[in-house]
């Protein structure tokens, strides 16, 4: 499986990259605009990402906006529902309204930082994502 990570904190980005190593290739970017660009490019090349990990507080385009954007792009490519990517919000924002809003915008999971490996692996398992 292929994973796209959007995280402006390089510390968290490295930790996620390390945790995802057994699952397949990952690409990490640090801002929302890059996520959208990379996600769309992958769809065009017909090598879509299976999982997108989105931080919420990021410069330019925040994670919530990215989430809505990605779902919109997927509709354009007729990849809705199960055909779309699994999107996991990984963030320090634990406000209920932020969490509800993310799920309304069709994220598949929401983890509050700091994320430990057991919780992360369990969450991926719930999304039926397993190591390669």
């Amino acid at each position: 499986m292929r994973t796209l990570i959007a995280e402006d904190d390089p510390t968290c980005s490295l930790i996620l990259t390390s945790m995802l190593k057994p699952y397949g290739p990952t690409l990490a970017v640090a801002d929302g605009t890059s996520v959208i660009r990379e996600f769309t490019a992958a769809l065009v090349k017909q090598q879509p990402y299976d999982l997108v990990c989105l931080d919420i507080m990021m410069p330019e385009l925040d994670g919530q906006a990215c989430l809505r954007c990605i779902r919109e792009i997927e509709r354009g490519f007729a990849r809705e529902g199960r055909a779309g990517a699994r999107i996991l919000m990984i963030t320090g924002v634990a406000k209920p309204e932020t969490i509800f809003s993310a799920f309304r915008s069709q994220c598949d999971g929401y983890l509050v930082k700091p994320v430990d490996r057991a919780r992360f692996v369990a969450q991926l398992g719930e999304l039926e994502l397993t190591p390669a």
Binding site: D8, D9, P10, T11, C12, L14, I15, S18, M19, K21, M57, P59, G92, K113, P114, D116, R117
Partner: protein, 266 residues
Amino acid sequence: MLLVEDNEVNQRVGSAMLIRLGARVVIAANGRIAVTMTAQQRFDLVFMDCQMPEMDGYAATEAIRARERLTGAARLPIVALTANAMPGTREQCLAAGMNDYVAKPISAQEFAAMLGRWLPGSGSPPIPVRPAAVNDGTGDDDRAFDPRCLRKLEEMETGLALQILTVFRADLAQSLETLTRSNGLAEIARIAHKIKGGSASIGALALRASASDLEQAAQADDVASCPRLLSVLVQAGHAFLAAIRPEIVSNLLHAPPPNRNDPCAP
């Protein structure tokens, strides 16, 4: 707290002891840097080595005192640290304008006594010794740095802990730089949030707390509290950068846990 010291080992030992005592420590590598730093930010107390390259402790103290006289600023307490136990050294320190004198090597008790004597608002007896700022990871949660987080990362992947620490330090240094120049509350909140996230992952508990306080104040548009919280975070960040160095962490990761009662354990 400003620790003026050119020797790197003494910098680390001194700052570790002071952090254990609950102080926030900034390090200056010589007298000239100390003179500049004391002009730029407010300190409660300075520990000043006497023999240093470029500008020694006596000259630096004279420069600081001269500036205080010119600006009418309050007298910053300066405690001399010197290896020279010769008679007359104390007089020389006092003549230069220092308030007190301690002969090296300095024990944690002597540091505590100096804090008790010279910190504003803390009379004797000295402030109680807080749990270790950096300890072996068995015990209390009231500390600045918890090495268990880095150990966990190292268990995940060999070499990961140091890699992450290095990246975190570089990013933190840049964030602190940006914070001191930024003027928008939204940007301050975002950077504080980022520091909070990184600190939580690597176990920098004190830094995480300061970053969280600033993030909340900035998000709540609490303009009155932001400058103070920002300066607390910047100081905590510099203290972290001074104390939690890759080589120290490397020892923590690879050595067996040090004896908790060892006063020299960094």
